[in-house]
């Protein structure tokens, strides 16, 4: 091993001076932590754009008839809202931000296996994201196809569908590179003693996610590329006018996009599995079951895609198999929920912001999961498919689940990442506003959907007005909560209390053994691991007094 440049481990990664200076030292850094922070900044920027679009949509729907925009604008806005939130916020949210930052630290490595590839994937992410944004301002207007790009509308639409498709393709590539980096890193760079069953559960979930990223993403890549060719050169692949089968497009789209749902939720489940034992001060209940259920979700999740297509007129066999498998895929998620709740039993529970978000995750994700079961039932699906019931369902899973998981992760790891503490009170106020606002915003959509309110509607029949109005009011509460939360985290960076305390929450995983904030190579000497994560021993609870002060 060659000698380190001196001082590598004396200063934190934030202060380390490498070859470049200023901004360059960030955007050309191959340090996994800096890349994680780059992802964090870019992801939150895109999130702000996505939230704005969502807010505008809700405002439009406050009353029947045109309110603040025309239908074409509305159609573009829900497309962009979907594309941005899915490809630029939820998919990279946990793996690319917190995975990049903490995966190497939590397995006791100095970096990921391919640091330069890691930087490349951030660049691709940025390029893809900018392409999506730029398409808004090109003549022709932003794409209006919905984030699903269903054929044949996506071939017919006169809007800028091509940039949106290319953006999704490039973002897919970025996601693949992150995935293959993580799989290799977990296989090759675990520190001494870090056996498979000593891995933190967040790593298990990232590992499962990474496999889906590697295997499923190329299929949507090629599918979107084929749509590009159809629009550009008049190829006949899916276009029904040239003999193609629009349903085959949907199959290929969902072969990726359903597993992608698990790319989005699995890491959030991993975060929850980290937070709950730490704030209950006890070991996790059923470690192996939670770990294997991540793998089971990744596996089974690849086999259920056609439940997005129960109304397209598939064969009876396909309907039967896909409905059955859909119900089976619920089981590993249920196992996780039960184990989390059991982990609270006989703990010594602290209700700090990360824990509040984790508990809210369990509640909201459960609602999302249960309403998913309703759609798995074929006859019920024929009624509620493509209604606002679905919109409510996936927001409960994607926002109430993954979104809250991301917020939990931010509150959990923020002090570690930046060496600054945020204020507890505003964090808790923001949490309650988010929780209440979220439910007021999305729950009415379940009711509307059951009553027959289709989704992606610019206008609606007068009988749905009260629900829409309530939902819009919810969006205001939610956004207030978001503003307080982000302001609180932001002001922590500026003027929050500095801390160099290594173990802020009293966690047992390796990131709490590194300095705060971590130095360039994470650890002075690579740590050795001798027991499973989350093994709280009585003598570990000595800093009880210190903890009291923190809380």
């Amino acid at each position: 091993m060659t000698a380190h440049p001196t001082g590598v481990n004396d200063v934190s990664y934030l202060e380390y001076k490498g070859k470049h200076k200023g901004l360059m030292s960030w955007i050309f850094s191959t340090d996994h932590k800096r890349i994680g922070v780059l992802y964090l900044i870019s992801m939150l920027t895109f999130f702000a754009v996505g939230v704005t679009f969502g807010f505008l949509m809700r405002l439009e729907l406050i009353a029947p008839g045109p309110t603040i925009m025309d239908p074409q604008t509305y159609n573009s806005i829900f497309t962009l809202h979907g594309v941005i939130m899915i490809f630029l916020f939820i998919i990279p949210g946990l793996p690319a931000v917190f995975g990049n930052f903490f995966l190497p630290i939590m397995i006791g490595a100095k970096d990921v296996s391919f640091p330069r590839l890691n930087l490349l994937s951030w660049w691709l992410f940025l390029i893809g994201g900018l392409l999506a944004i730029v398409s808004v301002f090109l003549p022709g207007g932003p794409a209006d196809t919905g984030w699903t790009f269903y054929i044949p509308y996506s071939v017919r639409s006169g809007t800028n569908v091509m940039p949106a498709l290319m953006a999704a393709f490039i973002l897919g590539f970025s996601s693949i590179l992150t995935g293959l980096n993580f799989v290799t890193t977990v296989h090759r760079l675990r520190t001494k003693g870090m056996g498979w069953f000593k891995l933190p559960l967040f790593i298990w979930s990232l590992y499962s996610t990474a496999w889906i990223q590697v295997l499923a993403t190329p299929i949507i890549g090629i599918t979107l590329l084929l749509v590009v060719f159809e629009r550009w050169m008049g190829f006949g692949i899916f276009d029904p006018a040239l003999g193609g089968d629009p349903v085959l497009y949907q199959h290929l789209f969902w072969i990726y996009s359903h597993p992608a749902v698990y790319i989005m939720i699995l890491p959030a489940m991993g975060v929850i599995s980290e937070i709950i034992p730490v704030f209950a001060r006890r070991t996790i209940f059923g470690y192996k079951f939670i770990a294997f259920s991540s793998v089971a979700i990744a596996l089974l999740g690849s086999l259920v895609w056609a439940h997005h297509m129960f109304t397209v007129g598939m064969s009876g066999t396909a309907m039967f198999i896909f409905s059955l498998l859909t119900f089976i895929v619920a089981i590993p998620s249920a196992i996780k929920v039960f184990n989390w709740v059991a982990t609270l039993y006989k703990g010594s529970i602290y209700t700090d912001p990360p824990m509040l978000y984790a508990l809210a995750f369990i509640f909201l994700f459960s609602i999302g999961g249960f309403t998913g079961l309703m759609q798995g039932a074929l006859s019920v699906n024929l009624h509620i498919h493509d209604t606002s019931f679905i919109v409510a369902h996936f927001h409960y899973v994607m926002f109430g689940g993954t979104g809250f998981g991301i917020f939990a992760a931010m509150h959990y790891w923020w002090p570690k990442m930046f060496g600054r503490k945020y204020k507890m009170r505003p964090a808790k106020v923001a949490f309650w506003l988010l929780f209440v606002g979220f439910n007021v915003l999305y729950f009415p959509m379940f009711v509307m959907g059951w009553l027959g309110m289709p989704r992606r509607y610019y206008d609606y029949l007068p009988e749905y007005t009260p629900y829409h109005r309530l939902s819009t009011i919810g969006s205001w509460i939610l956004i207030t909560g978001l503003i307080i939360m982000f302001y609180n985290l932001y002001s922590a960076l500026r003027k929050g209390e500095k801390t160099t305390e290594e173990n802020i929450w009293g966690g047992e995983t390796l990131e709490w053994r590194a300095k705060t904030p971590p130095p360039l190579e994470n650890f002075e000497d690579l740590p050795e691991v001798s027991e499973a994560p989350y093994e709280y021993k009585e003598n570990d609870l000595v800093n009880e007094k210190e903890l009291e002060e923190v809380h």
């Binding site: 675990r190 072969i255 396909a318 198999i321």
Partner: protein
């Protein structure tokens, strides 16, 4: 674990030149077989034969040219995972097209 080991020599010995020529020859023979068989009308069997031969050819390339035979077993598991995903997708997709 493997964190710091300097494997300037890869852990396994690659086979010598001879085996590569042998595999190459086998591949050419197999190509000859498919082309010849394609000329004869086997009905539905034609495709089956062509695909079987293609699978054998790929197997040879994977194991010998791509060194899977001598790699760490985890590589083989990886390949199976990828193939499994592809095949299962294909089979499940066909439940919509062929069992109506």
């Amino acid at each position: 674990m493997t964190q710091d080991h300097h494997n300037h020599e890869t852990q396994h010995n690659h086979p010598g030149y001879g085996i590569y020529f042998l595999v190459w020859f086998a591949l050419l023979v197999l190509t000859g077989i498919t082309v010849t068989v394609a000329g004869i009308d086997f009905g539905n069997l034609t495709v089956a034969t062509a695909l079987t031969v293609a699978c054998i050819k790929s197997y040879l390339v994977l194991t010998i040219f791509m060194h899977l035979k001598v790699e760490n077993p985890v590589f083989k598991v990886f390949v199976w995972v990828a193939l499994f995903f592809l095949i299962v997708s294909l089979v499940l997709l066909f439940t919509d097209y062929s069992f109506i």
